[in-house]
Subunit: 210 residues, 2 copies
Amino acid sequence: MTKTLGKTRDKTRIQRKNTATILEAALDVFSTHGFRGSTVDQIGNAAGLSKPNLLYYFSSKEAIHNALLSGLMDTWLDPLRALDAQGDPLPEILNYVCRKLKMSREFPRESRLFANEIIQGAPRIMGALDAELRPLVDEKCAVIAGWIAAGKIAPVHPYHLMFSIWSLTQHYADFDVQVHRILGQDTDPYPEAEVYLETLFTRMLTPQTI
Amino acid sequence: MTKTLGKTRDKTRIQRKNTATILEAALDVFSTHGFRGSTVDQIGNAAGLSKPNLLYYFSSKEAIHNALLSGLMDTWLDPLRALDAQGDPLPEILNYVCRKLKMSREFPRESRLFANEIIQGAPRIMGALDAELRPLVDEKCAVIAGWIAAGKIAPVHPYHLMFSIWSLTQHYADFDVQVHRILGQDTDPYPEAEVYLETLFTRMLTPQTI
DNA sequence: CCATGGTTTGACCATATGGTCAAAGAGACG
DNA sequence: CGTCTCTTTGACCATATGGTCAAACCATGG
């Protein structure tokens, strides 16, 4: 698969630095133009390296993209992994929402890279969806279903709850431009978003004592 | 601007048929590959027309894209326009959510086209955002703020309420692949989604009698 | 200071792509 | 049928793009 730099040798300092620079630049470019919309030259410029030089470190444009995506899925799922079945239901969920929102704020490019990929049919990460995302979601939704059955939170469809958390939080990264176009260029939407989302999930999930 | 077919003449039957066919095919292609990821040949194939033939009806690839986008914004805002300041607050909002969800279901390609455009920085519709979207949103958010002030619905940030409606409903179109990957290929998520969203907004917006 | 192996690049190639054009092909209509 | 306009296309062009390669370059350890 990886033909470039294939030897079983430790990476040079230069190698480490340049691969990092390339991935950083590629994240910028891919997240704003999508895979097909990005060119190797563009990434090269952004990284301050020549095109052949890029292809010395990565065997192809797709290899760069893959490197980004495979590193991504793991990080992306961390907040969900942290959802603790032993914890207090509502705070656990609110915490998850909060962490997810924080990820949108701190890693908007990663969010957009992911969004681009999914919208366009997820051709390159279908596998990861089945292998990593789905099992984890199944597990955590079971936990939530348990909480509901125990009357700890108000009844809702666990999977759609999950979808709603994703869409609501990622919206602020993916549709960033639109949000700013409406709220004003120099408004920081995140503090208000956090309040809003906490309110939303609290009101929706607090059990109604009859 | 439009140099092709410029005459002040009525459109032929053939012209009407072919422009429609082209736009239909282009919607398919653009919505799944983004602007730069789509090729005129691809659209031509999908439409059953040769590339030069396409360019007989539209002066360029971008002209096709523009035609789609400009037609889109109007349709897209219809549900929001229908939000009636004189109506019953909660039902009005639930109705808006419902109509928006229906649009996701019936026009997922339009939703993805829009999403692609926004994620990639909205280079081609920035103008429409400022000219059409923002004023309408401002107006309707004022209405909602009024309802809140009158105690008709529980207090929430009107703009973020708007964002949440968009993200929650459009998610089912834009992230369709992911949703189906998790719920199973042949599940129809929409009925459950409608129930879920109605619950969500009802619980969040029903005023708490103290 | 030289040799060795990692690093960089200019020149190059094949293919893809947006777009043009002249000429050939329908359609409508007197 | 003949003519005029609208439609379609094969051939073509300039440019962009992913990728290759041999040659030059540089860092470093002996």
